[in-house]
Amino acid sequence: MIRYFLTRLAGAIPTLLIIVTVTFFLMRAAPGGPFDQEQTLPPEIMANLQSAYGLDRPIWTQYGRYLAALVRGDFGPSFKYKDFTVTELIRQGFPVTLQLGLIALALALFIGIPAGLFAALHHNSAADYATMSLAVLGLAIPTFVVLPFLGLLFGIYLHWLPIAGWEPGSIRHLALPTAALALPPLAYIARLTRGSMLEVLGSPFIRTAFAKGLPLHTVILRHALRPALMPVASYMVPAVASIMTGSLVVESIAGLPGIGRYLVQGALNRDYTLVLGMVIIYSTLLIGMGLLVDLLYAWLDPRVRP
């Protein structure tokens, strides 16, 4: 089992390296530079700046230095936020984004799976149709529409929850953003679970379980659930990707000081190192998620284990 994990890990590192490399060279290939928006500076000062940021070295040297720094955990200085290094910005913003994302993922799983189960067990009933209709709503309406709507309803009309701002450890400020963020993956997971459970319930081994006189809850929870969750496990990586994408918007609207906001700003400001750093963080997270999912598969289905 350990060996399986290590093999997968070894396979993931080249992918990450490719992403870092491609991103790096893409950034450097861009016309113009990070200082273009500034007022035109006298050439000597430009030269000094270039030198200070290491931009005058040959590109391979820059690449090498960047990689070396990366391994030390140093993402370089931000070109726009002059007083901060990217590492500091990441350290500030990452916990916020992580909290946001994890809570949203947890909501999606812990509400989505039971909802799907419920719909499957009450197949073709009014409750089933109602749940699935809600799921379509959750899937179709984009996060950046849902969040303001929720904010209007709960924040402005009902005054129950704050619509923006952030205090460390404050659940109230996270309530609406995580709800909005969780909604699309939640809906998808519910649909997925329902379909998968219905399929599993028609399997011969479930018939055997009933024939053995086992009570319904045992059949569902012990015999049906794990096989039924396989598609949900497969969906985990796209789910995290979806939450990452959504967090960009949610952080902007709700004014949460996470790294998503930096990414968007970095794009608009053409802040190379910042964007590069963010992309690496996000990619690492995704790849890490992929590894976790592989482990999850092995637990769910013994046939996968080596």
Binding site: I18, F144, V145, L152, L263, G266
Partner: protein
């Protein structure tokens, strides 16, 4: 030509939700295209007398106005036109790129195919927005980039589908005959492979419309999409979000439009998928 067979069409017609959704979509599109004739206000005109006015059927501005006094009804319809227009162009881009890529991969087979599919595998794992952001940083914001990025929403799966179909067609006799008779590869692909692949491609393109519209609005919302003076629904929603506390309708009107459009597109897409019995996921 494969695709929507009679059986599938009948199943689709029997699905009340899908049919209703289709009507709503057509109504919204019609409204977007012909609506401005119903309302004399122009997109640009700033009505200083009615800044941030509430919606009201009696007033000159049915859906109210925004912070600059622009009529929301007309602006929303214009935004819908932009969203749909960009979406359409992007779909075509996606179709062309995916079709070519998939056809080449499927036709070539062997190591070319393997490599091309590997690339798709790596690309599929990563969220599109990051690519768009990278490209935006590199190339700045431009219209072509926008079409390309949004087009990128569907091309991966499209390429996969086309490749699969191409591979199965490749092995059929008439292709062998064409190759034997010396026709060049490009001609074979264009004349034989593509017509046979068109069916599922059209279906998939239709099914990916909601994602494309969604992505376009998403980009515009973040400020990475359509630029001034054009405004898509996403841009309008971003404006509205800023005015949420004082003038919520600036958000609600375009937001409601987009939500309704996407909802119906999804419901119709689901119905289409059910009718064709395509597996989800």
């Amino acid at each position: 030509m494969s695709g929507l067979t009679d059986d599938a069409a009948r199943r689709l017609r029997a699905n009340p939700a899908a049919v209703f959704a289709l009507y709503v979509i057509l109504a919204l599109v019609a409204l977007a295209l012909f609506g401005p004739w119903l309302n004399p206000n122009s997109i640009e005109a700033l009505d200083w007398l009615h800044v941030a006015a509430r919606p009201g059927l009696q007033s000159a501005h049915w859906f109210g106005t925004d912070r600059l006094g622009r009529d929301l009804f007309v602006r929303t319809l214009a935004g819908t036109r932009v969203s749909l227009g960009v979406g359409l162009v992007a779909s075509v881009v996606s179709l062309v790129v995916g079709l070519s890529y998939g056809a080449i991969a499927g036709y070539s087979g062997g190591r070319t195919d393997h490599l091309m599919m590997r690339i798709i595998e790596i690309l599929s794992g990563l969220p599109l927005i990051f690519f768009v952001i990278l490209l935006t940083v590199v190339f700045g914001r431009s219209e072509y980039l926008l079409f390309f990025s949004i087009g990128a929403v569907g091309w991966l799966t499209m390429a996969r589908i086309v490749r699969g179909q191409t591979m199965s067609i490749r092995r059929r006799e008439f292709i062998e005959a064409a190759v034997a008779s010396g026709a060049n590869t490009r001609r074979i692909i264009v004349k034989h492979v593509i017509p046979n692949v068109i069916g599922p491609v059209i279906v998939y393109a239709t099914l990916s419309v909601p994602q494309i519209v969604l992505f376009e609005s998403f980009l515009s919302f973040l400020g990475l999409g359509v630029q001034e003076p054009h405004a898509s629904l996403g841009t309008l929603i971003a404006e509205g979000a800023g005015e949420m506390e004082s003038a919520p309708w600036i958000l609600l009107v375009p937001g409601g439009f987009l939500a309704l459009l996407l909802l119906c597109l999804n419901i119709f897409g689901d119905g289409l998928r059910d009718a064709l019995d395509v597996k989800e996921g």
